[in-house]
């Protein structure tokens, strides 16, 4: 697992008050299921991202719990209603508790 995986965000920078906005996020991660076997027939240990959380100024908007059935480089698209300007915080937590995060500013007019 590399220390700084690539994170891609697609968040509109501005939105009208009350507008529904789509947020897309992707993080680079193998999401090793724990069911695969290596060349010597040994089981490859499970290594997955367990949780994703999106919050706006501390208030949680959307959360996900991942299982090995989620494909590598987990991509998520979800929605929120823009009500106030603020900073969106995106956090991914893997099964060991390692956390990666990214932020985006949202301006509500």
């Amino acid at each position: 697992m590399s220390d700084s995986p690539t994170i891609r965000l697609s968040v509109p920078s501005t939105a009208r008050a009350g507008e529904l906005i789509e947020i897309k996020v992707m993080i680079q991660h193998p999401m090793e299921s724990g069911y695969r076997r290596g060349v010597m027939g040994e089981r490859i240990a499970r290594d997955i991202i367990k949780y994703f959380r999106c919050s706006l100024d501390g208030e949680v908007i959307f959360q996900t719990e991942f299982y090995p059935g989620v494909a590598a480089n987990p991509l998520l698209s979800f929605y929120t209603r823009a009500e106030q300007s603020g900073t969106l915080l995106f956090e991914w937590i893997d099964q060991q508790g390692v956390t990666w995060s990214e932020q985006a500013d949202l301006m509500v007019e």
Partner: protein
């Protein structure tokens, strides 16, 4: 003569048994894994009503390692009436639960999409729990050409 007949009978029954099993597995009736997952997540004796949940999945997935999945729940997403949780359950993956999504009234729209792994041609269910505790479900079916490796 007798042994020849026996061999022929054995031969005839082999491909039939092998052919019927995947057909039965694909059928709509094998809901054991789904039922069990619902009990494990939401507790026993919960009534799951079909409806309000739309699962979008390609009818044919060429690659089981990455299958696009979209789910939308018919809900106004207000403080009084919103989706609390949405659980994706597989009919025949080694692990029944694929993902759990938690929403709130701030979500505005109970719609989510991601990419999942499918070990087999199967149904993918989504169960939504509303803030009043009621459970609603929907499903999509996908035929998987290259299954995600699970052994």
């Amino acid at each position: 003569m007798k042994s020849r007949r026996r061999i022929l009978q054995a031969l005839a029954s082999l491909p039939a048994a092998g052919f019927l099993r995947p057909l039965a597995a694909q059928g709509a009736l094998d809901t054991a894994q789904f039922d069990q997952a619902v009990v494990e997540i939401f507790g026993p004796g919960q009534r799951v009503t079909p409806g309000r949940v739309t699962v979008s999945i390609p009818a044919i997935s060429e690659n089981g390692y990455s299958v696009p999945l979209g789910i939308e729940v018919d809900s106004p997403m207000t403080q009084a009436d919103h989706v609390r949780e949405l659980v994706v359950i597989s009919q025949s993956n080694p692990l029944p639960v694929i993902a759990r999504f938690q929403f709130g009234p701030r979500s505005g729209l109970a719609k989510v999409s991601t990419r999942i792994r499918l070990a087999d041609s199967q149904r993918v269910y989504a169960v939504a729990q509303m803030n009043d505790g009621s459970l609603w479900s929907g499903y999509g079916h996908s035929i998987v050409t290259l299954a995600a490796c699970v052994i």
